[in-house]
């Protein structure tokens, strides 16, 4: 990997990311897949970085999953998006931060459409007014939650308790970064680093002590692809995409995968189990899987949060090899110990999250 060349390309694709006063919208599927991630993001933003992050209880799905699954028409999706913007306007915020990559892609697409076709925006405004009586302002700044963590990666590194370094060898952990397709492949100028060389996760990994590995299928889709997974008969294509990525990254012996999309960690994590069940193949060292993390989980780990409070017990591929390598102090017996967590709460010992 020629870092100098990549940096030259990355430098052309920078985006404006707001400093404070964020209106945060959660993902509709992410809380089921990796429920600790969004909680970790809020804790990092509010308690570590002291930022103002607002969540609205009336927020709904952006309908992007239905739009990309071909069951929600674009005008309906736009009206739902307009309602989310109206909630933001009512709350008095202007910096919109979606947790989901597909939401980010949909919001970007909608804003671009309205920019080029103002009559469509007027039509959507009328539809929203008629249906809900609401009015909205377009966000001044739209950034994905990973953009925010990327912006404050140095501040997080300064507070870090651990680093992405193998404590036994002193070598940096080899990290595969996987960016959701809807982050910058649709609108390269809207992502940090563009579509071919997105820097958003690579920047975090480098700042936190790890080494990003470049491999042939780095930009390949994880396999979610909406219809590929949503229709059971098509799931063979979904798992084949992940398999292609694993086979491509395996020779580089990655220690972990870091992702910024709801679907990618889900499928890169779960499909490892399915491939092992179907074909008996695993892609990590010594017959183990390759642990898959969200960027919030990685940020939480280096800040010293309890892995089980981050929800790492929800992963299908065990995360313990990475915890051991980083030298994280954790209690393996508490992994599925719900009673222990309840005891911790009852004894008024504050949870890490």
């Amino acid at each position: 990997m020629k870092i100098e060349g990549k940096r030259a390309i990355w430098s052309e694709y920078q985006k404006e990311i707001a400093d404070d006063k964020y209106y945060y919208v959660r993902s509709c599927i992410r809380q089921n897949f990796f429920p600790g991630s969004e909680v970790a993001f809020l804790k990092i933003m509010r308690e570590e970085l002291k930022k103002d992050v607002h969540e609205h209880p009336c927020h709904t799905t952006c309908s992007g999953i239905g739009y990309h699954g071909d069951v929600v028409p674009v005008e309906t999706a736009m009206t739902v998006v307009a309602r989310q913007f109206a909630l933001m306007t009512e709350a008095g915020y202007t910096n919109y931060v979606p947790s989901c990559i597909t939401s980010f892609g949909l919001y970007t697409e909608v804003l671009e459409t309205w920019h080029h076709f103002p009559d469509v925006e007027q039509k959507v405004r009328q539809q929203l007014k008629k249906a809900t009586g609401r009015e909205f302002e377009v966000p001044k700044n739209l950034a994905h939650a990973s953009d925010i963590i990327f912006k404050f990666r140095k501040e997080i590194a300064a507070k870090a308790k651990y680093k992405l370094i193998n404590k036994n060898t002193g070598e940096p952990l080899k990290v595969v970064d996987h960016i959701g397709c809807h982050y910058a492949k649709m609108f390269p100028s809207k992502g940090v680093g563009g579509a071919e060389y997105p820097y958003v996760l690579a920047g975090m990994v480098e700042e936190w002590g790890g080494e990003v590995i470049d491999y042939p299928e780095r930009r390949h889709c994880c396999g979610f692809g909406f219809r590929q997974y949503l229709v059971q008969a098509n799931r063979g294509f979904s798992v084949a995409c992940s398999k292609e990525k694993f086979e491509s990254m395996q020779p580089f012996k990655p220690d972990m995968i870091i992702t910024n999309c709801p679907g990618c960690p889900m499928f890169l994590d779960r499909w490892q189990y399915v491939i092992n069940e179907m074909e008996g193949k695993r892609y990590g060292k010594d017959g183990e899987g390759i642990p898959v993390f969200t960027y919030e989980e990685v940020a939480g780990l280096i800040l010293g949060y309890d892995p089980w409070d981050l929800g790492l017990q929800m992963h299908q591929t065990d995360c313990e090899p990475v915890l051991e390598k980083m030298g994280i102090d954790y209690n393996p017996d508490m992994k599925y110990e719900i009673n222990g967590t309840i005891t911790k709460v009852n004894s008024r010992v504050s949870l890490s999250i």
């Binding site: 798992v239 069940e277 179907m278 074909e279």
Partner: protein, 114 residues
Amino acid sequence: MDKFGFAISQQRQIDFEANRRDIAEYISEKEPSFRVCIECGCCAATCTTGNFTPFSLRELLILLKRGENDKVRDNINKCMLCGKCTLVCPRGVNTRNVISLAREAFQDRIKNAV
């Protein structure tokens, strides 16, 4: 398959670097008309074997050119060498000879190479 209700789809990407074109080159050398085949499928349309079985000469010729030899080797002996394909070929490819040479190549010359 039974456990999950689906199977992992096979790779459809053609890896030209991994494929071996020895057989195609051998045939082209001995039967130069093989080079002008335009894969129109007239041979397959007139093929008696193809009418009664999934055998397709057009498919085999394409696979040979790509160097995807496994399926060709498994199916080439289904041809009865009647020669009707040669009669209808608009490019004048001696398809009958192409098949004979392919069989020869698989059996003798490059038996262990593919």
